[in-house]
Amino acid sequence: MADWSKIEDKELLAAFRVAESKEQAFAALIKRYQERLYWHIRRMVVHHEDTNDILQNVFIKVWRNLEEFREDAAFYTWLYRIGTNETLTYIEQQKRKSTQSMSDNEEGENIYASKLKAEQGYDANKIEWKLQQAIHTLPEKQKLVFNLRYYDEMPYEKMAEILNTSEGALKASYHHAVKKIENFLKDN
């Protein structure tokens, strides 16, 4: 029996196109990327339930479109791009919903502050949580850039492919994000 965890992406994609090995190949791809993608999403949306919904939708979309996937781009990049788009769309929908249900004085509040407080083990005095608060003061795209660079240590070149932005703009964005986070942590 083949050890699917040791098979390269390209071979797994080929196995996906064969009816008999389709599911096993797909399960192997999920296993390979689930944690990275999970954290990529969760760092943006905070709650596990929201993350799980988005993550499952991402993999369902991948299943539906994988046969048409052109292998001139890396599977990993393509997966991250779908994950990022799904996450941003979800955040937009959530924001629209919460703006509709919020009263005027609540409107300006950061929706993430309450999300973070609701998390299990939240402790406002712990630096890890303060860092999350700081990150969630950033605009969504800057937050994405910061997370990809700081946590995933992704090269700017890769980030440019995923976010469809120039490397220069990403560097500037990261630089601004770091400054804002540093200032937040100093002030709080």
Partner: protein, 218 residues
């Protein structure tokens, strides 16, 4: 001031031997102490009768002792300090994940993929079944109208299909159900349509109910 060095060599090469012994001192005269006072006089203007000496010395208090010696060290320390805020924070996320979440995820995704596929197929079958049910209803209505039209027409010349209520149609079908030969109805349908109806017949009442609810028919 005699010519020396490479300038002398150059003059010899050029044949300027007389110039070698000449003094290079300028013969022109200039005011006494002119160069001693030149710097201050540059800042004198015509309408400034009082002479003042401009010095570049800053009027501020003296710089602390050893300030510049320690400056580079202080800067490096400050840079270190500002970096350490982020550097000292663990990159481990503080969030919790349900137990065995990642072990179960692939199976969950595959299950969802399969169920959404079969749900879609079932929804398609139900939709086609409802379409056929509607077609059969129209067929029944027409046959009802054709059968009753001449009789009705004698009674009511303004008869139209709109005048027949659903209740009347249902009663008619109930009372004359034997006249609706399923074989005749089926013979007018294509093979693929019959297959669709067979599929639809195998649907559970829950599936039909769910479909009707989704479509807002219930």
């Amino acid at each position: 001031m005699k010519v020396e060095g490479h300038i002398k060599d150059e003059l010899i090469a050029l044949g300027g031997l007389q110039l070698l012994n000449a003094s290079r001192q300028m013969p022109f005269a200039y005011p006494e102490n002119y160069f001693d006072t030149l710097d201050t006089s540059c800042f004198k203007t015509d309408n400034q009768s009082i002479d003042y000496v401009f010095t570049k010395q800053m009027p501020f208090a003296a710089v602390p002792e050893n300030y510049f010696d320690q400056l580079s060290l202080n800067i490096l320390e400050a840079v270190k300090k500002s970096n350490t805020i982020l550097e000292n924070i663990s990159k481990t996320m503080p969030y919790q994940i349900p137990k065995a979440y990642f072990e179960q995820l692939p199976a969950q995704v595959l299950f969802k993929i399969k169920t959404t596929h079969s749900e879609k197929r079932n929804q398609g079958a139900i939709f086609r079944m409802v379409q056929w049910a509607a077609s059969i209803a129209v067929l029944l209505m027409l046959s009802f109208a054709i059968k009753n039209a001449p009789k009705k027409a004698t009674q009511d010349t303004n008869f139209s299909l709109e005048d027949v209520s659903a209740e009347e149609i249902a009663n008619y079908v109930h009372n004359n159900i034997d006249e609706f030969d399923t074989d005749i109805l089926l013979s007018s349908m294509s093979n693929s349509t019959i297959k669709e109806i067979d599929k639809a017949n195998n649907l559970s009442s829950e599936e039909i109910e769910a479909y009707l609810n989704d479509e807002g028919w219930n």
